[in-house]
Structures are given as structure tokens and as C-alpha cells.
Symmetry: C2
Subunit: 344 residues, 2 copies
Amino acid sequence: MAEKRTDISELGEFGLIDHITQNFKLEQPSSVLGVGDDAALIDDTGRQTVITSDMLLEGIHFDLSYMPLKHLGFKAVAVNISDLAAMNAFPGQILVNVGLSNRFSVEAVDELYKGIETACQAYKVDLIGGDTTASASGLVISITAIGHVMPDQAVRRSGAKPNDILCVTGDLGAAYMGLQVLEREKQVYLTNPDMQPQLEEFQYIVQRQLRPEARMDIIHELRDKELVPTSMIDISDGLVSEIFHLGKQSGTGFRIYEDKIPLDKETYDTAYQFKLDPTTCALNGGEDYELLFTISQDDYEKVKDHPDIHFIGQATENKDLFDMVTKGENVVPLEAQGWNHLRA
Amino acid sequence: MAEKRTDISELGEFGLIDHITQNFKLEQPSSVLGVGDDAALIDDTGRQTVITSDMLLEGIHFDLSYMPLKHLGFKAVAVNISDLAAMNAFPGQILVNVGLSNRFSVEAVDELYKGIETACQAYKVDLIGGDTTASASGLVISITAIGHVMPDQAVRRSGAKPNDILCVTGDLGAAYMGLQVLEREKQVYLTNPDMQPQLEEFQYIVQRQLRPEARMDIIHELRDKELVPTSMIDISDGLVSEIFHLGKQSGTGFRIYEDKIPLDKETYDTAYQFKLDPTTCALNGGEDYELLFTISQDDYEKVKDHPDIHFIGQATENKDLFDMVTKGENVVPLEAQGWNHLRA
């Protein structure tokens, strides 16, 4: 059965906006006015507004040959919500700007917005505005996310103190290994288009790459436990890079312990299959969107038994010293290696 | 003297962000936290937050062969501020997302941000965040602007009542005629690269196209006069298109008078030179970024002598009737013609 393909020009710009937004309802009490006017209105009495914005460009941030549009829509929202989580804020609203070249049909746009809608429901955010426009080349997505926080609850990158405990949620390196698998299968497919991608044994890591979650669950739990981290960031570029951000902005160093770094078994096994060092993948692989934060020693009791919060090190006095105690009990300096130095 | 060209890769992503943001200081009392964390913080106690977002793509919204990067930076901010003005709000902050292909040098990025900085100063807005990323093709700019308004002062598109007076600021059609001149000079240049562009006699209309202003001056004056329009929109697509927006969202019709439509002499003369009907250019040419608003008859006295506010018609009972009384006293229906039907 041939899939239906409707040209965007059949709807026109305003028709497309109506078509896209018809499923989006305002649910947040703070959303006073949404799509359809010159701007949106938010009422924020007594709270602070938290705002973040990210742009995703085809060919740079995503590859549509293995990234389904629905997942892309979800991920574009989730990575912005993750930035709000990293401020200890609760998401409220998003604005979505999309640039579409004429190779995209209305059905393709619908898939993208289905993912955006799923994310809106998952994180309880209202779509309140944005811009839909033609693009000369490829797909462009720019999202602004707005959240809310009580003034004394906002957590910056700059608040870590020496002896604070460094915590990380979930596990690390999986999104990076998922990307390696997807890139390999793409190369196999390009060489022999009859080959079907072999992804069954890599379900978890592929999911982590294609459809990451913002850890709002952790933010809710921390609030329930009345725990405000001293500093926080989300892991988009890689653990080491984010540790440097916390340290530089807080004026502290950090020591971490290799044996405390959380790794999923699938990440571990796949790294070996690819002849990569699993620890290096966890230290420098990006896009996990887990939360990295510091807590005061006094707060340790509140989370010490949490199954998904891992205590990987501590902040130190010397602001120029960032190191790791290896499994072999050597102390090695941490280096933000970026994406080119991952070969074991 | 050869101009200096510095590759963006020499600075790196974080170096580029530091380089760009070093001149931007926070001036707004509501800007609690700006660039450099996961998100920005705004404190808005007692007021509503107004948010709008727009995306500009190379090859669709601008042509760098005649658009200087500095003007583009200014315009990208101004068009978003214009949306805040159209809500009767005062601008506070912006976030700027930029995608850059490798044909852009650090010096080119500096020009773009010089324009953004000039706009920040002109409209007293703080740059509080954004994203700078590589682009596979061309320049992408996505801006989010945040403003503030007291809850009873926000003006929507939907508040016009029958017999309200329809007002427009400034003059119309100039930005469209400026574009015609720039396109003609570009064609001349492409045919004969030794020809210099002839723009002296078109200074005003070219300026209107390249560097439009948001009419915040009018918003301040309306506040001083304690006049809250009943509905408002800014003119980005063209007068007729915006009149339809006000009418459809307010449930009213509109009648306008051709002889009341404000035209600058340069627009008028250039239209004749191009064999275009000046009224048609004013009705359907876009990008003037003037304000179109309705006021109650009771408020007419407050602005009747204002030199830059023109009373071009009124809202009517019949929500399906949009017409114009011509200079020859005929009544003709208004039609949103878009950009393809402007030939006289």
C-alpha cells in the first residue's frame, strides 16, 4: 500500500500551522495564551521563569537515514527539558521553530509533531508558539523551553563546595555506543542495500541514542526529599566535559573513582565488540542526558539508597585538579577528550 | 589591505561563545541569570511573561549578496521585538540560536553579533542565552524574545469591537519597494560585475528593507497616554493579511479608506518607476513592521494629533465583510494577494 503524500503547499503556511497545532491543548495553569497571536503569555507570579533554547540541524545533529522523525521530535523537546531539569526547574511551555525543505510532506511533518506531542504529554508541557517556514536545504528545528522554579530552589553550575559529593543518575556511554551501532549498520546498508539492520541485541543503547529521556523523575524525587543540589548540569557533551564545567564555575576541583561510574551491561559488551574502552566511552561519550550534580555531605542520607543515583566522587579544594582513581588504584588526570579520541 | 579571516575552529565552540558574549551585559532588573548555565533565569513577580520566536534561513528570508550581516543581526532581533510590541509588552531578554557553515569566519560572526548588540542597546534587551552550532549549509538564525506586561495591559488580536477605529503607524510599502530595488541591482550586478549598485535615490526604502525598526516608541507613547488598544498586530506579511487576522480573531469585519493609507513619497515614486500601483504595494507588501491596532472611539482624542498614527478605517459588524473605499469612491473587497500578484 502506497503511503499518502500531501505537499505542504496544499495547506499553505497558516493551514499547516492549524493542522499542526490542533492536537495541542493548554494544560499548564501558567499558560495564559498560546499559539495564534503575536506572542504567547505566561503568568508566573511569585516564581522565576527558566528559559533555554537549542537548535538541531540536519546533517550536523541528526541523520534521517536512521533517525525516525517521530523520535527526532521527541528528542528535540527532551534535550531542552533536560536543560530545565539541570536548573532544578519544572517545565511549563515550549516554542517550536521548524524549517522544512520541499522534500518533506505533510505526513512527514505529522510524524515529527507526533514525537513533539508525545514529549509534551510525557513532560506535561504546553506548546505555546513558534514559527514554521520553508528551508532551502534540509530540516532545521529550534526549540525554546520555559520552566518555573521558586527563587530559592534554582540550582546553578556554580554552587559546588569542597567535599560535596558528586552524583550521577542512570548509566553513561550508552547513547554514544548506540550511535556507533547505528553508524555501522548505515555503512553496511550503503554497501549492500539488501542487508537488514541488525539491531535486536542493541535495543537499549540504540534507544538511548534515538529517544533519550530528560530526568524529570529525579527532579520530582529530589523535591519530595527536600534535597536541593549545590550544583547541577545535564550530560550532553560527556561526563568529563561536564565535570570541568561544574568545577570551573564553582571554583573547585573534582576527584572521581572509575569503579563507581555506572555502565549498563549492553554498553560494556558493545564497547568490547567495537574494541573501545568502556570507561572511556562513559567518560567522553555524549548525549546521555543524565543529571550530574553535587550534594552537601549532610544530604547523603536522603539519597544513599536510591537505586538510580550513583556517588562517583567529590569536589576538592584545588580548583586546578581534576583526576580519577582507576580500578588499578592509579590516579590519572581527567581530560576532556571530545569525540575523536575514543579508540582504546 | 586584506581583511583578517579567523576560522571559527581556531576558537572552538566554548571559545566562540565567550568571544560573542563578552560585550553583552545584563541590564534588565528581571534578568537574574544570563548566558553560561543550562538555562537562563527571569524574575517576573506580578507581571506576565510574553514570549515569541522566529527563524530566519539563508536563501529564504535573506540574501547575503545585498544584506550586510550587521543589518541582518539587527533585523533578526527587531522583528521579534516587533511581535512583543504588538502585544503591548516591553522587551526584556533575547535568546539567539545561530547555525554557521564553515564559509563564515569569526569576523563575519562578529559583524552579525554587532548588529544583535546594536539592537539589544536600541531596545534595552539582555542577551541571556542561545546556542551556537555548525550548519551543513548556510546561515540559520532563530531568536526567542521575552517581554513583560501587566496582566490588564496585554493586547491580543481578538479584542476589536465594531466601530473601533483602525490605526496604523508610520508608512507602508517601503520595505517591499526597497526589496524590488535591491533585487534589480543584484541582477544588474550579476550581468555586469563592474557595475556599482545605484542606491542613492532609494536610501529610505532600502533602509526600511534592510534595517526595520520595531515601533517600541509608539508602545511607550500609548502607555504615557494611558491608551490600551483593543486589538493589535504588527505588519510582517502585509496590511490586508494583518487586517484579516484582526477581523477573524475578533469576529468583526473592517472597512478601510484608500486615501488614508500612509505612503512615503520615495515609495510612491519608486512604485511608478517599477510600473507598480503604490496602493497595492502598501496593501500587500510585507516587512514594514509597523503596528496595526484598533482603539475605542472614546480614546480618539488622546492620539488624534499624533503625527505618526494614521486612522485608516474602522471595525464593522459583519464579520465576513472586508472592504476598501477607493480614491474614486468605489467600494472594493479586500483580498490578501500575497507576493505574486503585485504587478499593476
